[in-house]
């Protein structure tokens, strides 16, 4: 399978994702330029973290108008795998590929720290190597990660099992004290209804090697590869 990492002006985790996929997981991976309009030939697109367009106006608000975005939207609508990490998640929200919106952290400060996440749905292309209810440790680094959705949308997300990760403690308890940014329902990551577009604030690419303090992120990328290979085997 082939990964494409989209580079917006101001993306700054593009090289980290590229390294994780290419050097650590040994997958074919290319950078895709924001000014391009074609994503043909890729099986999974990653929108990396960073400050696309300086996060001016609102995180992700300008990036959604980048020339490559119509192709990303088409790709997602036709079932292609799209992973948005941090700023990438914010862009997916702004582009309407995922429901809800992002506000500033409730502490009004940037937060960089390791977080524990409860895997709420282990049956997605991105999480199939995790058990449901499993606690994983993946770091966050953001100033606008305070996820919001109105009550109706939230109900829908819950009903359809679209909440994939919640901030918790090491025992898997989801409490206000384990919420680093004020997100409604401690939500750290959600998937679209069709199950092919995942947005998450934590950075899996930062924990793919034990020298960096953890490898849970590697399992997320490995899930994508497993899922793809399984689909190939079924001749899908």
């Amino acid at each position: 399978m082939k990964f494409g990492v989209i580079v917006f002006p101001g993306s700054n985790c593009d090289q980290d994702v590229y390294h994780a996929l290419g050097s650590v997981l040994g997958q074919p991976v290319d950078y895709l330029w924001h000014g391009d309009t074609d994503v043909t030939g890729y099986d999974c697109l990653v929108l990396p973290g960073g400050f696309s367009y300086g996060d001016y106006l609102r995180a992700g608000a300008i990036a959604r108008f980048a020339p490559i975005m119509p192709a990303v939207i088409d790709f997602a609508r036709s079932g292609g795998l799209v992973l948005g990490i941090c700023n990438g998640f914010q862009i997916l929200l702004e582009a309407g590929l995922l429901p809800g919106a992002m506000r500033r952290n409730d502490c009004l400060q940037f937060r960089c720290q390791w977080t524990y996440l409860k895997v709420e749905n282990g049956a997605t292309p991105f999480t199939n190597r995790f058990r449901e209810g499993q606690v994983v440790r993946i770091p966050i680094a953001h100033g606008e990660g305070n996820y919001y959705a109105d009550a109706a949308t939230l109900r829908e997300l819950e009903t359809n099992r679209q909440v994939v990760f919640r901030y918790c403690n090491e025992n898997g308890e989801v409490t206000p004290a384990t919420n680093p940014n004020g997100s409604v329902g401690n939500i750290a990551g959600i998937i679209n209804r069709e199950g092919n577009v995942l947005g998450m604030m934590p950075h899996p690419e930062r924990c793919v090697e034990s020298i960096l303090g953890g490898t849970d992120g590697r399992e997320l990328f490995a899930s994508i590869i497993d899922w793809w290979q399984g689909r190939e085997r079924l001749g899908a």
Binding site: D16, F51, C112, R206
Partner: protein, 733 residues
């Protein structure tokens, strides 16, 4: 010209006379402005230049010493590390957020100006006590500003230091260090060589912001300083991120001869410094400079300190390609002049020449002042104070708990959790340890980075304090297993025209130089920040050392946390009755007095070599040096960092408070597995380093018994709460 005109720009009557002599005529307004910024203390180093010559600057591994945008050190395999530190004290004092943010922006530009990929930022911060609201405002703003700029650039802020003393109340110190990695073949220097070559301006448009920022940085702060707010520039990290990528693409294609960032004194300094280094001149047409505002005069264009701009001298014929790369990154790149052979900076507005000054007159002919040096009168009284009469604490547990809550010792997580210290996925050890460790992808190597200084020691004895700053930085690197290779210094002092400040400055540099020689850590560049005074009161003399070290095999590294039970704890070095200048003396007895601890550099070097050898041989499972708070705080920090307690038991002839809280130098606590104990003790004997087994790790408490008497027995939980919650609680007021 009316004297008020040049005086207001910061020039003295004598300096103005000298300019007339150099030019052989009366300078015009623009020319005076150019001289004023280039001859400001900030750019001209007129009170520091002769003293800075004391620094050792050479070693076989130094590829670039002082005088360039940044220093460069060879780390093998054709790679090198580029690094430099710089102050942004004055701007941060009146506009903390933008002042600190643009401080990061400026120092990062110095790194990629050499052609290097920036890979990390460090910060050294000093504020007044946090119970004053203004100091909290300053710290909030400074930390948020560094986070805003560094995080957006995608650069991890991996280490730093934060101290609080009343002397910094009106004048905080904000020193930022940046580090880059480069293939040696890509190194570029800030030289405008090749007569006829184009001179290009890349990046942001030029506005009226920051005019005379360099002059402002060369004055004392006072009530009128608030009016200087417009001298503080506004940073745009997004544009700088684009500038980094564009400049590195330009380097990759080998399109330029040299480049330089525009910081203090804007186009004026970058152009004349590039010309001066190459022995050339330059012709610049201000009409060609893209502006953000209409009606700007040549004076405003030449002196603007608008951020996120670089000056490039492309190879002949490469202009179009440079423009194309910049366009791809959404940046403007404009030819604004060309390199000439006559050594003259010729500034034109269209066809009209508006200034004509020899480049070297601006960069090299700045007058140098040797101010009389006088030992400050306060020293005798403070140094000779009899500290032996101070009472011993009644409760050692309570004493340690107070020290752990002292903001100088307490956890700085409140600060560094606002920095993205993980981006670039090379941070193997981030903030909170003795030194940060970064891996170098594609190699087995690691870089260790630290920034250190102790203003209190320097206040009490600048020579010893300066030496300790260097020794402690090197010790911190050694404690993670790295060999120290070189340093960049940021010298924060008061008004150098005062004999006492001149004395402190000289002494501190002399002490630093002594330690640099002994520890083989040459100075590769740095920055002097004078006039750190508020209403006539100087800050503590505060030399800050940013040091870089190399770990040959990153698997052979160490941290300060005790991670396993049953390790033997060995104290290397000796404890002397040295509580002068200590955190114990300040926090428990309310005194800043005495002499700082003595520094025996031979011993220091031996201890550091032993620590590195033990780590490289895989004998040590943790290493931590004793610094502020002495042995007791070092033990508590290791316990908290690793989540493992210890039982400590040793005998000593000193007063127990001296044994626990003296800040004697050249001491490191090693945790070693029982099987390695004898080997480490034997190595210590070989090197003549005193080594004593003082306890064993284990449990969830830290118990200390001296001469059979239990001094304290504290749970990790209660210590951690005290240590971790102190600064957040103060900031929440």
């Amino acid at each position: 010209m009316e004297p008020e005109v040049y005086r207001q720009m910061g020039l003295t009557d004598e300096e103005f006379e000298r300019i007339k002599e150099i030019l052989g005529r009366e300078p015009n307004y623009l020319e005076v402005g150019m001289f004023a910024v280039m001859w400001s203390e900030h750019c001209g180093y007129k009170h520091s230049r002769p003293v800075l010559k004391l620094f050792p600057t050479r070693a076989p591994w130094v590829l670039q010493g002082p005088g360039e945008n940044a220093g460069i050190i060879d780390i093998g395999d054709g790679q090198a590390v580029v690094f430099k530190i710089e102050s942004h004290n004055h701007p941060s004092a009146i506009e903390p957020f933008q002042g600190a943010a643009t401080g990061v922006g400026g120092i990062v530009r110095d790194i990629f100006a050499m052609g290097a990929r920036p890979i990390a930022v460090l910060d050294s911060l000093r504020f007044g006590p946090l119970d004053e609201p203004r100091n909290r405002y300053l710290m909030n703003g400074v930390v948020a500003g560094i986070a805003f700029y560094g995080n957006c650039l995608g650069l991890p802020t991996v280490a730093g230091e934060v101290y609080f003393e009343p002397s910094y109340s009106g004048n905080p110190l904000v020193n930022a260090m940046a580090v880059g990695l480069i293939e040696q073949k890509d190194i570029r220097r800030g030289r405008a060589a090749g007569v006829g070559n184009a001179v290009m301006l890349v990046g942001a448009r030029t506005g009226r912001d920051g005019i005379h920022g360099a002059t402002f940085a060369s004055e004392e702060l006072n009530q009128a300083s608030e009016e200087r707010r417009p001298s503080v520039q506004v940073g745009d990290p997004f544009r700088e991120k684009l500038l980094i990528e564009a400049c590195l693409d330009i380097i990759k294609e080998d399109l330029i001869i040299g480049m330089q960032d525009m910081g203090a004194a804007g186009i004026t300094s970058s152009s004349c410094e590039m010309a001066s280094r190459a022995g050339t001149g330059m012709e610049i047409d201000v009409d060609l400079v893209p502006r953000r505002e209409e009606g700007m005069t040549p004076y405003e264009v030449m002196l603007s300190e608008s951020q996120e701009r670089m000056l490039l001298v492309p190879k002949k014929g490469a202009e179009e390609r440079v423009r194309a790369i910049c366009r791809r990154w959404g940046l403007e790149a404009v030819v604004i002049g060309r390199v000439t052979g006559d050594g003259i900076m010729r500034i034109k507005e269209g066809s009209r020449v508006v200034a004509e000054v020899p480049a070297r007159a601006l960069t090299d002919q700045c007058p140098v002042y040797q101010v009389e040096r006088r030992r400050p009168a306060y020293l005798d009284e403070l140094q000779n104070m009899d500290l032996s009469r101070l009472p011993e604490p009644a409760d050692y547990g309570e004493t340690l708990m107070k020290l752990l809550a002292s903001p100088n010792i307490a956890s700085k997580e409140w600060v560094y959790c606002q920095y993205d210290y993980m981006v670039r996925t090379d941070t193997v050890a981030g903030p909170g340890g003795d030194a940060a460790v970064l891996r170098v992808k594609g190699t087995g190597k690691g870089l260790a980075l630290t920034v250190d200084g102790n203003g209190r020691y320097c206040y009490l004895d600048p020579e010893t304090g300066g030496a300790i700053a260097v020794a402690e930085a090197a010790r911190n690197l050694s404690c993670v297993g790295a060999r120290p290779l070189g340093l960049t210094d940021c010298l924060n002092f008061g008004n150098p025209e005062k004999p006492e400040v001149a004395w402190q400055f000289y002494q501190a540099v002399a002490g630093m130089s002594r330690a640099c020689e002994a520890l083989q850590t040459p100075v590769t560049g740095g920055n002097v920040s004078f006039y750190n005074e508020t209403e006539g009161e100087a800050v503590y003399p505060t030399p800050v050392v940013g040091m870089v070290g190399l770990i040959a095999d990153i698997e052979k590294r160490c941290s300060n946390g005790w991670l396993q039970e049953g390790d033997v704890l060995i104290l290397l070095g000796e404890t002397f009755p040295e509580i002068g200048g200590s955190e114990y003396l300040a926090v428990i007895h309310g005194l800043v007095a005495g002499r700082p601890p003595a520094l025996n550099l031979e011993r220091e070097a031996a201890v550091q070599e032993l620590v590195r050898q033990s780590i490289a041989a895989g004998l040590a499972s943790a290493a931590h040096d004793c610094s502020e708070g002495g042995l007791a705080v070092a033990l508590a920090e290791s316990a908290l960092a690793g989540g493992t307690g210890a039982v400590i038991e040793f005998d000593g002839s000193l007063r127990p408070d001296y044994l626990l809280f003296s800040e004697s130098q050249s001491r490191v606590v090693l945790a070693v597995p029982p099987a390695a104990r004898d080997r480490v003790l034997a190595l210590a004997r070989e090197r003549g380093v005193p080594a004593a087994v003082i306890g064993r790790t284990g449990g969830r408490e830290l118990a200390v018994r001296v001469n059979g008497r239990t001094l304290f027995n504290l749970g990790l939980g209660e210590m951690e709460k005290q240590w971790r919650e102190s600064i957040p609680a103060l900031m929440a007021r």
